[in-house]
């Protein structure tokens, strides 16, 4: 039993199809940071057709894909993954969804022509197609509890506009960049153990405090709430570099 207790499992949804923005960096960061705390960390691939072991997953990761790939995962997500994912989240598993993955976890994606593609509705957000693509560095002031530093940095590249419903709160407020929709100043969402965001770059390597937040939250459901501190000087130096160089883009917000 101790062996299982010491285990840390990352479930990577569609690693071959939804891995467009260096999403592997998020997986590596979760695994290494768990490993460095003496946990037995592993990642399981949850490709098309796979649902085995989802109940044991501590942190799910759902990345972005191109249109063609996103279309290919769509049926599988609804038919194979939705139920076990909902069950795991209800049990305290944590989810990080970026870009395309973030959109698919919401209620729907609406095209420019008004056609709606339903998502799985795990989070209270909806997305509409936009004309202009938001591309560039992003700096967010996060409201997530006890996060130090209080900033998150990343890179966004999306044309979808995501709007939060009453059930979801923002991951933070945009200081630089466009965030959820380029209008209301919010970026990402938090709803229970699910975090959605447009930030890649990759997100977790330069935001080790957010990585630890996800790990800690997932482990707390198993009664392991403490994480030993790590030397994050290299990660935080890269974080600081983005804070220093990120300038508000012309014509935005």
């Amino acid at each position: 039993m101790t062996k299982k207790k010491n285990r840390f499992t990352v479930g990577w949804l569609y690693p071959d199809l939804m891995n467009i923005y260096g999403d592997r960096g998020n997986i590596l960061t979760l695994l290494k940071r768990a490993e460095w705390r003496g946990l037995d960390a592993r990642a399981i691939d949850l490709g098309r057709g796979a649902a085995h072991g989802m109940e044991d997953v501590d942190v799910f990761f759902f990345g972005g894909g191109q249109d063609r790939e996103q279309a290919l995962v769509y049926d599988d997500l609804i038919e194979i993954k939705q139920e076990p994912l909902e069950a795991a989240v209800a049990n305290g598993s944590v989810v990080l969804a970026v870009c395309g993955g973030y959109q698919l976890l919401g209620h729907y994606y609406q095209t420019a022509e008004g056609e709606r593609f339903p998502g799985i509705g795990l989070i209270d957000v909806r997305t509409e197609a936009g004309k202009k693509r938001f591309i560039g560095d992003v700096v967010v002031d996060t409201t997530l509890e006890d996060l130090k530093p209080t900033t998150l940095v990343g890179f966004e590249n999306h044309s979808g506009r995501t709007f939060l419903g009453a059930g979801a709160r923002a991951l933070g407020r945009v200081r630089v960049g466009s965030g959820n929709n380029g209008g209301d100043g919010t970026e990402g969402c938090v709803q229970g153990g699910v975090v959605g965001t447009y930030l890649h770059g990759s997100l977790l390597p330069k935001n080790p405090h957010l990585a630890d937040y996800l790990i800690r939250r997932a482990l707390s459901r198993r009664g392991m709430a403490e994480l030993a501190p790590l030397d994050d000087s290299i990660e935080l130096a890269a974080h600081a570099k983005i804070l220093e160089r990120a300038q508000p883009r012309a014509g935005e917000r």
Partner: protein, 454 residues
């Protein structure tokens, strides 16, 4: 008259920008001339006595163009070529301008142009090529190009519009290129690699484009050569790699020193290394075959080939040997790392990452590069470039102990020198403008020639 004015204005701009130290004058003259006469490129390339070859694809354009240029020049032909990576329509225009005479006429036989994927439709329309080569389509610079799918569609439309009698020369091993070629109205000439010995067992993390265009199933690979290039088929049997008409076999890899291969009956020895250069050689060879050029003659020209600046450029400095290797996206970086570590036994590195427009402003792709290859094998790694700090984090999570990040090229070089013993070799693997920065520093210190002289 408009044409002559455009040529003169363009030439003057080129001379000025060189004099004022702005750079090699590789594209600005094209802007100026096109502003005066928008049809200038069509007119100039219309003067070519033999015609043009266009080369596109994510990786290998410059080397393939240089191989073909060398083949034609050895035949006594005058060649116009857009060197130094100036591969937008303005760069091609500037190259044509440089070879134009005072009467505004282009005096040359062949045009060999490397063309950015997104610029291909315009280049085909204006240049009316005899041959269009597509090398590969890897994920690259999503911030600038958008999705791979759109680029594939753009290339497909361009290939449909090449002139009557022109030939598409395509990489059979690349599933995206295969998809494009199999949908064309005309039969392409396919090239590829047939050598299980140099294949990897599984797809690297950088691989993409792994699904069947017909049914969406994940493709099955019996061999992977580079990125997602290899021998593939759909498990449902409705899509498979076309059989290459020109193939490289019996490949011999010698680090960054050479790559040898059989192409048909001909043994080709290229004095630059890496499997990716085998692709460049077989692509150029296939184009030569279309034109009826003798295989043995092409092999001789390739044997005497010298690489373009920053692409496996070798130089001595302070008793150390430097090898500069352009490494610009996951597929390319994985392959240069593999060549460096597995085949060249490299132990001392500068890795350079910039995020200017030409590099891609989004650097998330470094997480798809298998820097893990360096763990336990590299002795010295200096993360360099504008985004050196991102590289430092990447290396940490790859289990590679690195030196402190250096954003100034001079400091990166100084740090490398301080820990590289005399007589040793160091490898400098950099993205495009990071390479320009390092090279400019080497020029400043008198170690390398400015790139427009090479």
């Amino acid at each position: 008259m408009r044409r002559t004015a455009a040529v003169w204005a363009g030439k003057a701009t080129g001379a000025l920008s060189r004099l004022s130290g702005l750079g090699g004058g590789t594209t600005l003259p094209g802007d100026v001339a096109r502003a005066i006469d928008p049809t200038i490129l069509r007119k100039l390339t219309g003067d070519l006595t033999e015609g043009s070859i266009l080369i596109t694809g994510t990786n290998g354009k410059t080397t393939t163009a240089r191989l073909l240029t060398s083949i034609f020049e050895g035949m006594g032909k005058r060649v116009v070529s857009n060197r130094a990576g100036a591969n937008l329509i303005f760069g091609a225009t500037a190259a044509a301008l440089r070879s134009a005479g005072p009467d505004g006429k282009l005096r040359a036989d062949w045009g060999v142009f490397e063309i950015d994927e997104a610029s291909l439709p315009r280049a085909v329309e204006e240049i009316q090529p005899r041959i269009a080569i597509v090398l590969n389509l890897f994920r690259d610079q999503l911030d600038r190009y958008g999705e791979l799918e759109k680029i594939a569609k753009t290339i497909e439309a361009a290939l449909e519009s090449i002139p009557e009698g022109a030939q598409a020369v395509l990489n059979a091993d690349d599933p995206r290129v295969g998809e494009i070629g199999l949908g064309l109205g005309r039969t392409p000439l396919w090239f590829g690699i047939e050598d299980p010995v140099v294949a990897m067992r599984k797809l690297p993390h950088a691989a993409d484009a792994r699904t069947c265009p017909k049914c969406g199933a994940s493709l099955r690979f019996s061999a992977v050569y580079l990125g997602h290039d290899g021998i593939y088929e759909c498990p449902n049997g409705d899509f498979a790699r076309p059989s290459p008409g020109v193939a490289a076999t019996d490949i011999a890899l010698q680090g960054f020193d050479s790559v040898g291969m059989n192409i048909g009956e001909t043994r080709v020895e290229l004095p630059v290394g890496g499997l990716y250069n085998a692709y460049n050689a077989v692509a150029a060879f296939a184009a030569g075959t279309v034109l009826g050029v003798d295989g043995q003659y092409m092999a001789e020209r390739m044997h005497g080939f010298t690489a373009a600046f920053g692409r496996q450029e070798k130089m001595d400095f302070r008793g150390r040997r430097l090898v500069l290797v352009l490494s610009k996206n996951p597929a390319g970086f994985n392959e240069t790392l593999r060549t460096a570590v597995d085949m060249a036994g490299a132990t001392h590195f500068i890795l350079g990452l910039n995020d200017r427009k030409a590099d891609g402003t989004d650097v998330s792709w470094i997480w798809d590069v298998d820097f893990e290859q360096l763990a336990g094998r590299a002795q010295v790694v200096v993360p360099a470039g504008k985004r050196a700090h991102d590289l430092a984090v990447r290396l940490k999570y790859a289990g590679v102990e690195a030196r402190p990040p250096q954003t100034e090229p001079g400091r990166a070089l100084d740090d490398l020198i301080s820990v590289t013993p005399e007589g040793a070799t160091a490898h400098i693997l950099c993205t495009y403008t990071a390479m320009l920065d390092i090279r400019a520093e080497l020029v400043r210190r008198g170690w390398a020639k400015p790139y427009w002289e090479t």
